[in-house]
Symmetry: C2
Subunit: 226 residues, 2 copies
């Protein structure tokens, strides 16, 4: 008799700004149908949210893309809000993983270039996720404030310390570490978020992401050279 079987409420706490009092922590089993349909719904929701933002997206549209009825969506997720939350939660991990992997014991330039490369690959392979994130931040991060000021800031602070130590050792140029990280985000996500513009300006016969990979490799090599 469990309502909204697929919604993994426990995992939402991470992103939620206001804490829910209850969280029934219901029957976890997840049947195969549940697995499949909630995934279908999330993919459709990602498609629509990433294009129109939270307010601009409609359940009817998501239902159409998912090929399911509107009440069926609500069977799996209690609300539009919940779909959005589920997407954001999942997104944040994917997004931060590459930065987490920055190895303090590795070669500084190689580590940073590897991070840049992985971020470009994320932009190429998951542009909708990138746009979903961009939409959320553009709107002032109303549903991610906590995660940004919390997990994300903590991680950036930690990695900034690593960068600073590399700079102190003279292994890379001395630069404001946070802004260095911002520039990696800006440059890589630009190719996903502004894809339309990039392609229109480049015209035909270009592979934006391949070119971006080379260009950014050069850029950061020159920037980081002590």
């Amino acid at each position: 008799m469990a309502l909204h079987p697929a919604a993994d409420w426990a995992s939402l706490a991470a992103v939620q700004t206001t804490t829910r009092p209850e969280s029934p922590s219901m029957s976890r089993p997840q049947t195969r149908i549940q697995q499949k349909n909630s995934e279908t719904i999330l993919q459709a929701a990602l498609e629509v949210f990433s294009t129109y933002g939270f307010r601009g997206a409609t359940l009817d549209q998501i239902a159409e893309v998912a090929g399911l009825s509107k009440p069926n969506l609500i069977y799996y997720f209690p609300s539009k809000e919940a779909m959005h939350q589920a997407l954001l939660t999942r997104l944040l991990d994917t997004w931060l993983d590459p930065l987490r992997d920055l190895d303090p014991d590795g070669d500084p330039v190689a580590e940073i270039l590897r991070y840049v490369r992985r971020k470009i690959e994320l932009s190429r392979d998951y542009p909708r996720e990138s746009r979903l994130f961009a939409n959320e931040i553009l709107q002032g991060a109303p549903r991610m404030q906590a995660a940004i000021a919390g997990d994300l800031k903590t991680l950036v602070d930690a990695k900034s310390a690593v960068l600073l130590s590399w700079m102190d050792e003279g292994r890379i140029a001395r630069l404001p570490p946070q802004h260095l990280i911002f520039s990696i985000w800006a440059l890589t996500q630009h190719y996903a978020d502004f894809d339309t513009q990039v392609r229109a300006v480049l015209g035909d016969g270009h592979d934006p992401f391949a070119e971006a990979g080379d260009y950014l490799d050069t850029l950061f090599r020159k920037l980081l050279a002590p």
Copy 2:
């Protein structure tokens, strides 16, 4: 007896994807009241559109921000669409001006750094405009396709040629010129579009735009050095 007195239809043609057949090109006079109110409305619309995107914005919200009644909005602009168009049209000029000013006869590095500085200032002083633009492109530029593939591409092509000639003369490093331009856009607009994130990560006691100005100056100096 002119309806929608403030809407400057002639100027909209530039951005419009589908060409309007008529365009009455009505009485241009523009009374002081018209001037004031249409400006108030556009400011309010900018505020709301830039935050929620076109579909996420509502006339009621815009009316509330403008301090005017909803029918009064429609008295000045025939539709929500028209407000959006008016904003985009105005925006594009402001946005491209600094790039237009890139002087082929000036000192290459100085010219590019000046462009970067002006773009950062735009981000600092007109963040809403930047976000409006970002929102539009994120959604696939449904209302700016023509302008992007037209005016903007033309301008970028022209300036790319200038950059290439500078590279040929060995005055700046050889780089793909379009991507060089993209990186200027990405890095400068990031500070307006992702302001929330930037501030959350930096924490208190920072002046994001001032720091960005210095950082980007360094970045492009190193990047452009032959």
